[in-house]
Amino acid sequence: MQTEKMTGSRIVIETLIEQGVTDVFGYPGGQVLNIYDELYKASDRINHVLTAHEQGASHAADGYSRVTGKVGVVIATSGPGATNLVTGIATAMLDSIPMVAITGNVPTTLIGKDSFQEINITGVTLPITKHNYFVSDVNELADTIREAFQIAKSGRPGPVLIDIPKDVQVAECEFEFKGLVPATKQPEAPDCDIDKAVELINKAKRPYIYIGGGAAGAGMTADVEALAEKLDGYIGCTFMGLSAIPNSYERFLGMQGMHGQFASSMANKEADLIIGVGVRFSDRATGNTAKYSKNAKIIQLDTDLSEINKNVKVELGLIGDIVSSLKRILERCEAKTNPEWREIVEGFKAKGKSISDEAERRSKGAMTPKKIFDIINEIKDADTVIATDVGQHQMWAAQYTDFEKPRRFASSGGLGTMGYGLGAAIGAQIASGDKTILITGDGSFGMNLNELATAVSYNTPVIIVVMNNGVLGMVRQWQTLFYGKRYSNTVLDRKTDFVKLSEAFGAKAERVATLDEFRAAFKNAMEHDGPYLIDTLIDMDEFVLPMLPPGGSIDDIITTKEAKV
């Protein structure tokens, strides 16, 4: 047993390295000085990325995790440093992203006295972490960090916060070197339940496999495709399931729901069996749950038992390791042919295409989002990572991006965090080493554009496509449809010159107003080694279509801007 006496702050670094961490994101401050001192000494073994703001660091750790599946790590000081992590931690929580956040705090003798930069961050983050710790004894520090990593990555992943007061960082104890702690093996769904599932599946004539973040995170691409082949069925996904199945796969219908594809939403509605894999039947994906898929029997595969029957009532819940459940189903179910179902769904595909063609034809702007994405898809390669902020541009990215490989998409789904994208893109790029494209809007980008400084400092090859329409487009779309065109506070009309701004940060930038200009700029950006912003001027009245109104269903689909609701 190899042990060594060391300080708490050194234990933090040694335990991170022991748990396989190679990169951390963060921002120093008074109560993490000791940890940063140890980072300095260990800089040949662990890379620290300094962001412009702790929120950016938290999103970077999140983006890092989304493209690698590794636990993202972020470090911040006490008080405001810690509270600046809150949005990033909540984003990771809602999307089940494994993350460990380490915060310093005032010495234990000053805790509870409203000391300078003291905040009870374990209390603040209680509802937005999978678990959190306040470490009051240096002897418990190493095992606490190990346990935090294990919790973050086991079962349904999520963020874990560890708050370490300064005196615990300074105190010394014996540190025992241990190995990487693996994720806890999840229980497997009982065989009798798998048999029940197979029985339901064998009877189905219209099977629809509905995958979410759980399936994407568990790397189930091959098994999901194999099941679709064997059942002669189709696959649709939630927003969080995007990029798990290549868009080119003919049985893949794309994202369903509020801004989803017509074909997947219709297939979901007309299916006689829905196999939900790592999905939580969120309101954005299902619409009105009272009207949701009344004709179908639902089988739900999830490792989190509280998700079964939470949002929709299911016929059968397979609680346990979803990879094992799906593999066992795949082995036992009968191979089928469903020509009738294929004909119906091919009809939905054709109808969906005509709906989007019609919407595209009615678009007045020359630079329609679809045409912009056509160019991006043509030029990007299979490894290119797409990150987004939140709003119309995000939904266009979800609808139009041709994903070719898993883990190539970083976007805030559950929380819908505007300002997520730039930090996440930087984290994703550093993690993957691949070209990363941030699709953003002028509203979202304005929230955390300070991270341009980070991208410039590290010369991170992130292409920032600002779909600039001068308005908060998604809110404007709702105001157009549901609020009598009263555009309350959504016309930004800011005088910010994103090109000059980028140049001031030290990044390359261009402004484009035509598709040809966009194509040329995008090629330049792909060849450039470093951050590159393309200020892309689009029409303020572009819509994200189709749209299912909130609380509605596929029967209420809005397909054109002119539609009355």
Binding site: H131, F134, S306
Partner: protein, 163 residues
Amino acid sequence: MRSVIAVYVENKYGVLTRVSGLFMRRGFNIDSLTVGETDDPKFSRITITLNGDDYAREQLINQLKKLHNIKQVKLLESGSSVERELMLIKVANTAETRSEIMAAVEIYRAKIIDYTTAALCIEVTGEPSKINAFIEVLKPLGIIEMCRTGVVALERGGSIMEK
């Protein structure tokens, strides 16, 4: 519908906050929550009574099971478990009401634990329905203040709830 749920937890930092925070976050309405150490000081036992439908009960149990410091969650069926609650209740001590109070104390097998010329303090234990009935009896006699512990419950017979 009323349910009684027993929860076996590690005695760790913030565990009670985690449990009670969950009720707020998920919008559960609970009637009572009691907590105390077990024979092993590393663990505590929480008893929760909840008024809600099957959906609320199932969600509460499943969400509790996800909390890291929680070792076991069990629904206690009313037929196969015993429940008790303790109440301290203070009533005005007057010549006109004293004998009636004493009679009620006798019948409900309660105990007078403090006596002054101004007030009587009474201790009573039993199932919540008995406590409620006792309160109704004392109401017209002048309740000054009262305090209930909430329900504690154990399964009948030899079955145990372990970590």
